[in-house]
Every structure is written in C-alpha cells, then in structure tokens.
C-alpha cells in the first residue's frame, strides 16, 4: 500500500488474470493443472513461486511465456504484459497472438530453464545461439553484434568470451551453460525474466553464484524476475515477494519476510517445516554400539581411462586420489562435495560396481545400493512386485509364496499402498518410485546400504518424507548407510559423520555437528555458505 502512495511507485509490468491451464486426459476429460490464478509483478520486482512438483508453478511460467505444450488448453481473462494482452484466449486470432509473442519473446521478456544442457542446441556453437536474439530483434551489424555478445558474456561473469563463442554446449560445465543461457536471455535487456528452476540441476556452490548473478543483473537493469523454485532457501535469499502454490492454486502470497517468518496458512507452515534445516535430532542414539567397522577403505585411487582408439593414446582422469576412510556398524556416514568431486565414483568402488581401482576395500556385509534418479534407475515397463521379487529370485531360495509375502512386508515397511505390487513403475510418482528403489535395496535384508543422492531428484516435502523413512528403517534394522549428497542441509539432518571431498581428495572428515559448527578447511566453509 505504501508503495502506491510513493512518488516512485512501481508500475505493474505483468498481470495475470484468472489463468487456467488444462490437459486432456487419455481416458477422456481434462486435468486442470493451473486453476484460475491471478497475480502481478511490478517493474524491477523479483517474485518467487514455490511449491511441490505438480503444483502448477512451471505451467504458470510456460503459459506466461506462451510455451505450453500443444495439447494444453489455456483459458482466463488474460496475461497482460505492459498493458498489452498476450492472449485473449480465443477472442484474438491465433496468428495475431503468435506474431505478438514472436515480437516480445527474446526482446521484452526472456526465459531460462532448469536443464541448461538440453536447453541449448547441441549442434550449434554458443556464438550462433547467442547471436539469434540479436538477429531476430535488432538491426545491428555483424561487428556490433559481436561486441554485444562479448559484453553479454562478460556480464554473466564468463571469462574468455572470444573462445566461448566458438565452443559447443557439451564442452562447457553445468554452471557455465546456465551462465550462457542467462547471457542469451539478457542480451536484449528484457524487462521480464522468467527463471524456471534454473539452479536445480547445479551443485550447491554454483547454485549460490547463479542466484547472486540473477539478483545483480535484475538490480542493475531494473528488470522484473519471476523465479520458480522448490528450494525455499534460494527464494528467501533472492526474492522480494513469494507466492506459494499447491494443486494449481495460490495458497499464500506476500513479502518474503512475512511469508518466511509468519506464514499464515497451514500448508505454508508445513512446507517451511519440511525444508530440511537444523541439526540431526536424537543425538543420544549416536552412542549406540558401533565398535565394529563395516567398511575399511585404504588408499583408494580410481583412474578412468578414456576409450582408446586405434591410433589414439589413452586419456586418463584421476577421479579418486588416495582416499581412506572407515564406516562403523550402525552409522550413517555422509560423503559430500560438488559434482565431479569423485564421491559417486568412490561409492561405486565400494559397492563393487567398479572393479578397476587401486587400494584395499574391506567390506564385511551384504551391500545394496539406491540411486539418485528413481525415474531412470527402475525399469518402467515392469510391475513393482516383479522388481521387488527379482533380488529374492537371484539371491535366495525362497519359494514363490515366501517371496510374495516378503514383498508385501516390504511395501508396508516403506509405506507404499498394498496394491502397488500390481502397478507399473511408470504409474508411480517420484517419491513412490524412490520408496520402491529403497524397498528393492532392503528386501534381501542387507546390513549396509549405499545411497547415491537418494533425495536430490525429489521436491522438499517428498524429500523430508523419504529422509524420515530412511532414518526409521535404519533405527529399526540397525542398518549402516553411506550417504552421498551435494545437499549440506540433508547431510546435516541425517548423518553421524561426514567426509568432504574435492577433486577426488578428502578435504575434511569428522562428526557432523563438529564439522558444521567449526569447519577447519576453507573449502568446507565455502560449501556451507
């Protein structure tokens, strides 16, 4: 209210009026994913949209940008950008709408996406792709375009602009690709930037840098930003105003401090609570007997040999350099680090999936593994019951009835519905799939479970549920976990001891609370932020 009486009152740049998005269901009828929502963004304002996957936040962003899939049906009163209605939903001719979109997209409004690798065209150089918005919307000469491109790359804090222009996307790191995407979106100095989970695919350190960069660019150019994320910590750092969405509707909306400090709605409160923070609870349990080492690894080195051609020398990359550690029975041991630090490789060596390593690994119990992406690591064509039974078929001599009883027991333990055994993996949600993956790992009753980023692909509420489940199973069955993650908050919540890795080496290793409260190494401090 104060804003509007202010002499420098910000004008509204984007106004969405009762927007709905629906998709046809295969069985007939429609599924509404965005349900009559209205909101607005002022000039120079950063609006955050939070919510679980399936809450309709991405669909809202795509609708604003006019990028909804062909089969989506969009309705409402309008999406007004700077007073012009971008889609009058049927009243305006489709051709006309398309023309207006093409005129504004890439010039007045731009978008960056979640996965920077697939969002860039793999066969075109960075230069060609960066040049496109200039070719489409300006009349600059080739020389001028070149200069603008270099300055856009510099603005996105990318060095060696000249070299970058002739590079292909696959030659860049994840963080660099997202910077290229940002440079491309910013090249015509748009007034609105829509960012759809732009940091979800990046590691913690890169994530913070990208968030800072977006904030800096927005302030410098007086640009409005709609920033979509399931990561509440990121939104709190970046946004002026936050909007919480659930099931296609806006639950709560307000200034960032108010939402985080005094949430009104129960759902918002639940979301805040689910966002993992704070130390691991119940430290008295930490004293449980763990005299015995389950894993002892000494001087592990892993060298990846590149594929060797007929006339090419082998290229070598040392992924893990001289790493030693031990894990005690009943302990949750965390391994953290940025992507590419060798943590997953180390885990593979321990599990036996990787046999070419130097050093000694002694492992005293049955091992099972849970992977990051429950979408791709389970066979989508198989039924859950089949997947759960398979380890039993391979490793035990149980009869069919005994196996199925064990499957039912496991479904109950992992809080999956009883009829899940008859369903295919493709029909399950991400959280349910990860439960299936955990059930499949535990069904043979191993003592040691290796978890490779088991919650990274899930959104916050589901993340919290899966972590709860893992902790409960660990307590009940006295399991030992090795837990690999790049998410410090998750590690803090669940692990007893943590090892920090960088470039294949161990940076630091110690009790979780000690390490979080008094990190000894610079790198650990940086990682903790």
């Amino acid at each position: 209210m104060i804003d509007e009486t202010n002499a420098f009152a910000k004008t509204t740049l984007l106004r969405v009026e009762s927007l709905s998005v629906a998709f046809p269901k295969p069985a007939g009828g429609e599924k509404t994913v965005v349900n009559r929502i209205s909101f607005s963004v002022k000039e120079g304002e950063i609006l955050g949209i939070a919510g679980e996957s399936g809450s309709g936040k991405s669909m809202t962003a795509l609708a604003v940008m006019g990028l909804l899939p062909d089969n989506a049906r969009c309705s409402g009163e309008g999406i007004f950008f700077d007073g012009r209605n971008l889609c009058a939903f049927g009243t305006k001719a489709k051709k006309e709408e398309e023309k207006l979109r093409q005129e504004l997209s890439g010039k007045e409004m731009a978008m960056i996406f979640q996965e920077p690798l697939t969002s860039l065209n793999p066969v075109l150089t960075v230069g060609k792709q960066l040049e496109e918005p200039l070719l489409l919307h300006t009349k600059l000469t080739e020389e001028e375009r070149h200069k603008v491109m270099l300055s856009a790359l510099a603005q996105a804090e990318l060095k060696n602009g000249e070299q970058l222009l002739s590079a292909y996307p696959h030659q860049l790191s994840g963080g660099m690709r997202q910077r290229v995407m940002i440079a491309m979106a910013m090249i015509n100095k748009p007034r609105l930037l829509i960012a759809d989970e732009p940091t979800t695919a990046l590691d913690a350190v890169t994530e913070r840098e990208i968030v800072k960069l977006i904030r800096k660019l927005a302030k410098e150019n007086r640009m409005s930003v709609v920033f979509i994320s399931h990561d509440l910590a990121v939104l709190r750092e970046l946004c002026d105003r936050v909007m919480i969405m659930k099931d296609g509707q806006i639950v709560e909306e307000g200034p960032v401090e108010r939402i985080f400090e005094a949430p009104e709605r129960t759902y918002t409160k639940k979301l805040m609570k689910a966002a993992v923070k704070g130390p691991k609870e119940g430290t008295e349990e930490a004293t449980r007997s763990r005299e015995e080492n389950v894993i002892v690894a000494e001087n592990i080195c892993v060298t990846y040999k590149g594929t060797r051609g007929l006339f090419r020398k082998k290229e070598e990359k040392q992924a893990v350099k001289n790493v030693s550690f031990s894990v005690k029975r009943g302990e949750i041991f965390g391994i953290v680090g940025e992507s590419g630090c060798g943590k997953s490789t180390l885990l593979k060596a321990v599990s036996g999936l990787l046999s070419e390593y130097e050093g000694n690994i002694r492992c005293d119990s049955g091992v099972q593994m849970v992977f990051q992406d429950p979408y791709t690591s389970l066979n989508p064509a198989k039924k859950v019951g089949w997947i759960l039974e398979e380890p039993l078929r391979l490793k035990t001599t149980l009869s069919k009835e005994e196996r199925q009883a064990r499957v039912r027991e496991m479904l109950k333990e992992t809080e999956l519905p009883e009829d899940a055994a008859g369903r295919r993996v493709a029909e399950l949600s991400g959280g349910q799939r990860q439960r299936v993956a955990i059930a499949a790992a535990l069904i043979t009753k191993p003592e040691l479970v290796l978890l490779d980023e088991p919650v990274s692909a899930l959104d916050v509420t589901v993340q919290a549920q899966i972590l709860e489940l893992l902790l409960r199973l660990q307590r009940e069955h006295n399991l030992t976990y090795v837990f690999v993650s790049h998410d410090m908050a998750v590690v803090r919540k669940i692990c007893d001891r943590v090892m920090v890795m960088k470039d294949g080496c161990v940076v630091e290793c110690g009790e979780t609370e000690e390490l979080f409260l008094q990190p000894q190494q610079e790198y650990t401090k940086k990682l903790l932020g």
């Binding site: 940008m65 006019g66 990028l67 062909d70 979109r101 093409q102 005129e103 504004l104 997209s105 890439g106 010039k107 731009a110 978008m111 996406f113 996965e115 697939t118 969002s119 860039l120 065209n121 793999p122 066969v123 075109l124 150089t125 496109e132 918005p133 489409l136 919307h137 292909y168 696959h170 995407m181 491309m184 979106a185 594929t307 051609g309 007929l310 006339f311 090419r312």
Partner: protein, 313 residues
C-alpha cells in the same frame, strides 16, 4: 585434420583386411579352378599342368600378395565364362549400376526430405494416418512386382519409355535419363518409404527437445525453429541410415536389373555364381565390401560435421 588422417588410415587398414577375407573365402570353397575350367573329363596331368600354369600350386601368402597387387592395378584375372579380363567385363556393368544407384539416390533424398518434413508436421489424426498408410504401402510392395507395375504403367499403357531400351549415358545422356528414371523409381520407392518414416520420427523426437522451447522463447518463428534448429539435429541419424541405403543400391539389385533387362553388377553376380566364375565373383564381392567401407567412412565424416559432440574415437 588429425581426425581425418586417422580415419583415412583406418579405412585403408579395413580395406586390406576385407580384401584378405575375400581372398580367403574363395580359397576355402571346395572347388578347383583348373578343374572347373577343363571340365570333369580332363586327365590328372592336364589339370596339374593348368594348375601350375595358373599359379595355383604356390603358397597362400604368395598368392594373396599376387591377388592384392593385381587388385591395386585393377587386374583380377580373366573371367572363366567370358574369357575376357574381369576388369573389362566389370567396366561395362559399372556404368549401369552406378548410374542407376545415383539416380535412385537423388530420388530418395529429393523426395524423402520434403515429404518427411510434411509428415512430421502433420498434426491431425487423418494426416498422420495418411502418411503412415502411404509409407507402409511403399515399403510393403515387393521390388519385382513394383518393377513390373512400373513397366506396365509407364512402358506399355502410357508408352513413356520402351522397355529394354537402355542407352549408355555416354552416348545419349537424356535418353539414358529418360529410360533410367523408371528402374530408379522401382529401386527408390521402398527406400523412400523407410526414409520418410525414419526422418519423421527423428524430427518429431527433436521437436520435443528442450532447445526448441528455448528457440521459441527467443522469438523464433516456426519456420526458423525447423530449419535453423531442428533439421540438423534430426538429420544426424538419417545420414547414417542413408549411407546404408546407398551401399545397398550400389551393390546392384538383381531383381530390378532382371525386370528392366539391365546388364548391371547384380545380374552379373547372379550369372557368375551359377557359372562358378570365381574371379568375377571375387572382384564383385571385393567391390561391394569396398563400397560399404568407403561409404561408412563418408558417413563418419558427414556426421562429424553435423554433430560436434562426436569427438575423436
């Protein structure tokens, strides 16, 4: 350039191995060239004398060296059936087969690419059904029947060409084209059906890719999205497929050559096999392997140009 040199050396090595295997295959066949030449009535001494004269008694490596040296010089010995040098025999036939292959290939590429794009853009159920039906028919008709249909329709009913009136391209280029376009159609139609399908699914897959969304967010028109972004990505697998098609049609089609009464490589191969004319068979097999190896090499080069992600392998 380094990649180019490596690939070229690999190509030559592959050819050498292919030549050796071809040579070896005809050594293993339980048949005696001298005996074949003289017939079953020949006496032991006559056969032995001819074996000596033909050099069949020498050791295997020596004869391979001899064969290789001859192959490089273009000398594959004399045809048993025709009594003339194999090279001269083949030279006449190559013109027919290569001409037919090139013309077919032009038809395949020239028709498949635009039709494939149209098929990929078909949005309605009817449109999709039409292209699915069309390509299915094209692929399902057997080549000999297709050849006969074309001869009947264009040669006998419409009288656009006289069946069996092949003229060499060197003598009358337009006459050659006017005749050859019909057998080329018979060769091309099934391949067009396959290529359209392949390109259509490749395009559809690429149109779903994330980078298409990015291109639209930059304000690209539909036309620009297709030509500047999607097509090149979609062509990468199609190029490899087209290379295999090209290799296949360059090897000659026995059926089509028979139907249109063309004396090409395919028919010569059929005749030579039944006549146990091994020098000719050996030369044709070597030629076919060489075509496959060289075309694969070409496809590698082209894909590397199209797809920067292919690094030195």
């Amino acid at each position: 350039m380094n990649y180019f040199i490596k690939k070229t050396i690999a190509l030559l090595a592959t050819l050498l191995v292919a030549a050796f295997l071809t040579f070896l295959a005809f050594e293993v066949i339980p048949s005696d060239a001298a005996l074949t030449k003289l017939g079953m009535d020949a006496t032991e001494e006559e056969v032995e004398a001819l074996r000596e004269a033909m050099g069949l008694n020498r050791s295997l490596p020596v004869r391979y060296g001899d064969f290789l040296l001859g192959a490089v010089k273009g000398d594959f010995g004399d045809s048993v059936q025709y009594g003339i040098p194999v090279t001269r025999l083949l030279a006449n036939r190559f013109g027919v087969t290569i001409g037919l292959a090139l013309l077919s290939f032009v038809l395949i590429v020239g028709i498949s690419v635009p039709v494939g794009i149209l098929a990929a853009r078909a949005k309605t159920k009817t449109g999709e059904g039409f292209f699915a039906f069309l390509t299915q028919i094209m692929m399902a008709v057997p080549p000999f029947f297709l050849g006969m249909l074309i001869t009947l329709l264009f040669g006998i009913v419409l009288r656009w060409f006289a069946p069996g009136s092949y003229v060499a391209a060197g003598d009358d280029f337009f006459g050659f084209l006017r005749f050859m376009v019909f057998p080329a159609m018979a060769v091309a139609i099934p391949k067009i059906g396959m290529t359209v399908r392949f390109l259509q699914s490749s395009l559809k897959e690429q149109m779903q890719a994330d980078y298409v969304r990015t291109a639209k967010s930059k304000g690209c028109t539909k036309r620009r999205v297709l030509w500047a972004h999607v097509l090149r990505n979609a062509m990468i697998p199609v190029v490899t497929f087209l290379t295999m098609v090209m290799a296949e049609i360059l090897a000659g089609s026995i059926v089509i050559e028979q139907v249109f009464n063309l004396s090409g490589i395919g028919r010569l191969l059929a005749v030579s096999i039944s006549g146990r004319d091994y020098p000719v068979v050996r030369a044709i097999v070597l030629y076919t392997t060489a075509v496959v190896v060289v075309l694969n090499y070409g496809a590698d080069m082209l894909c590397r140009f199209l797809d920067p992600r292919i690094k030195e392998m």
